[in-house]
């Protein structure tokens, strides 16, 4: 058994030995005529209590579902900014705060910057080992919901979504925009802009301050090798790349795509949240609902 497999088997073993013990509370403020909103509390490894926002369409399910894994921001969206709220009339949506993010920041309140490099030179203490477990726990919770059609569920997010899809075989669709673990050490050297690639900018600072840690950091990051994880993914996958020439553009992601076991494509950003967003909404609707169904889009995109 290879060392990367052993690393993640230990994570899943820890998770299997840690009951989720979910609590689900109605959120009247976010409940509409077409969807009911809930706050969800579940336990991940540690043990650590997490929080997520769950929305279920009114009517008879099961429904297609969208799972938004933890983002690299301090804030947890109820629904990603700019997504039409009417999306909730068609899909179950679930957004999870990984440990350190708002609503899951006790006892650990992550700093941004600071979260990505927290214990990065200690592979088994690295915070993203636990954050990945958090995201996997969220997937397990959602896929166990009776209102969810597992055959029509997509996991959406950054690199963590991809790793979750490699660890949870029930996932049939994946939409991933890697920005954390793609050739991180090499690409971090190109990044000073905290606005565009905050995690890589943070890593760049860390390696400049602690150059002697570079081998240890490399070892830790090797467990997050996306090309390795891609070999375990049979889900139909859309990879969202940065625009041509950007730090994580399509050329940086070809090795990941070529390793995927299932059908896949790369969409290169058009540097337009409208064009990129519209493509994503169409992909989700085409695959989770039907090719003949119009996507639900914001007013200004119609």
């Amino acid at each position: 058994m290879d060392r990367i497999r052993q690393y993640w088997d230990a994570v899943t073993d820890d998770l299997n030995n840690c009951p989720a013990n979910p609590e689900i509370e109605l959120i009247p403020l976010r409940t509409t005529g077409y969807a009911t909103a809930f706050g969800v509390y579940i336990t991940s490894i540690g043990p650590y209590r997490l929080f997520g926002y769950l929305s279920i369409p009114k009517g008879t399910g099961p429904f297609p579902a969208i799972y938004y894994t933890a983002t690299y921001t301090s804030v947890l969206d109820f629904l990603p900014q700019g997504t039409s709220n009417f999306t909730r009339s068609r899909f179950v949506t679930f957004s999870l705060a990984g440990r350190g993010q708002r609503n899951a920041d006790k006892p650990y309140a992550a700093m941004f910057p600071g979260h990505f490099t927290n214990k990065i030179s200690e592979p088994y203490e690295y915070v993203f080992r636990s954050v990945t477990a958090d995201c996997l726990r969220g997937a397990q919770f959602l896929l166990d919901c009776p209102e969810v059609s597992n055959e029509n569920t997509v996991v959406v997010g950054n690199d963590l979504a991809l790793i979750v899809a490699s660890l949870e075989t029930r996932i049939k669709y994946l939409m991933t925009a890697p920005k954390l673990f793609v050739d991180s050490i090499q690409l971090a050297g190109k990044v000073i802009d905290y606005a565009g690639y905050p995690a890589l900018a943070e890593l760049n600072d860390y390696l400049r301050m602690y150059p002697d840690d570079s081998d240890k950091v490399a070892e830790t990051l090797s467990y997050f090798d996306l090309a390795y994880h891609a070999t375990n993914i049979s889900a139909k996958t859309l990879i969202l790349a940065g625009s041509k020439g950007s730090v994580v553009d399509a050329s940086a992601l070809f090795p990941v795509q070529s390793s995927l076991a299932g059908a896949s494509q790369i969409f290169e950003s058009q540097d337009s949240s409208y064009k990129d967003g519209l493509y994503c909404e169409q992909w989700i609707t085409e695959n989770l609902v039907s090719p003949d169904t119009d996507p639900i889009v914001p007013v200004h995109w119609s």
Partner: protein
């Protein structure tokens, strides 16, 4: 038939008669609150070309505000300063790229943001509707002042030329740039992208997305409070600050903006009193407002009006 934006759209906003008195009352409270700026070098975040500092200062209600301050290592004693304001969800970035271009830049974390939430933390989502029926305690009363007081922080620094201060931001950062340019005459130039906090009540009808959807959620649950909400928001609407802005200002919008409707940006632009004002409305762009390409125009605009040292 696809959606089309009416550039002549007029928001239904009314300016309260006591608008100026309201804000004078707020800013008068600052006279008894010393700025007490604190600045700490952060070697981890600094680079061979840029020095980074963690900074703090006191604002309304004596809330301590934090920020990231970045300055070029090669500098003189009279540098231009830039205030960079954050979006609603985003964490204030370390503004190294501005410093690389020769500006001293403060990236502000107003109350409730990470780094400034020990004394005030209404949460996200939730910040937009916190105490929304009461202008005297509404979130953005203090939040706006936190941004305005950042000007005082820059002016407390000996390396800053007080006559060369600019403000910039996108989305909420754009909204804060508007109110800061309006309320602080020391601001010499402003750049505003896809502005948020502009035409609130119209935005509720023009969008179906968060964060404005927070207010729709609130009014769905408490429909009887609509008049109070509308009354409060009139004190905080960027359009009602626009006639106070006289510095050169550039506004950029995305015609497919699904977060901050471009209609509200058009109305805002018409109300700006500045003689030197430029509008860029980008077709094919959403809330990004063509940020990547437009950034070059912002830099040229700032260079023209406040210049850089390097």
């Amino acid at each position: 038939m696809s959606y089309t934006v009416d550039p002549q759209y007029k928001c239904q906003i009314q300016k309260p008669k006591d608008f100026d008195a309201f804000w004078k009352g707020v800013t008068d409270q600052l006279t008894d609150i010393p700025l007490d700026p604190e600045i700490y070098a952060d070697p981890l975040r600094s680079s061979p070309t840029v020095e980074v500092f963690r900074v703090f200062y006191n604002s309304l209600d004596s809330v301590k505000i934090s920020g990231w301050y970045a300055i070029p290592r090669t500098r003189s004693s009279a540098m231009p300063g830039v205030l960079l304001f954050p979006g609603y969800l985003s964490d204030p970035p370390i503004p190294k790229t501005w410093a690389e271009k020769g500006y001293a830049c403060l990236s502000v974390a107003p109350r409730g943001k990470i780094g400034s939430k020990q004394q005030f933390d209404p949460g996200y989502p939730g910040l937009l509707t916190h105490n929304i029926v009461d202008p005297n305690t509404y979130t953005y009363r203090g939040f706006y002042v936190d941004a305005w007081r950042a000007v005082d922080f820059l002016m407390s620094r000996s390396e800053i030329d007080d006559n060369r201060i600019g403000v910039t931001g996108i989305s909420q950062g754009g909204g804060l740039s508007i109110t800061t340019a309006a309320m602080r005459p020391e601001v010499s130039v402003a750049s505003v992208g896809a502005p948020y906090l502009v035409g609130f009540m119209d935005s509720l009808l023009l969008t179906d997305t968060y964060p404005y959807e927070e207010i729709n959620d609130y009014l769905r649950l408490y429909p009887e409070r609509k008049e109070q909400v509308e009354s409060t928001l009139a004190y905080f609407d960027g359009i009602n600050f626009a006639d106070k802005i006289t510095c050169p200002i550039m506004v950029h919008l995305g015609l497919q903006d699904n977060v901050c409707p471009p209609e509200t940006g058009f109305h805002l632009f018409r109300e700006l009193k500045s003689q030197q004002k430029e509008l860029f409305a980008y077709d094919g762009h959403g809330h990004d407002a063509n940020r990547k390409e437009h950034q070059k125009k912002i830099e040229a605009f700032f260079e023209k009006y406040i210049g850089s040292e390097i």
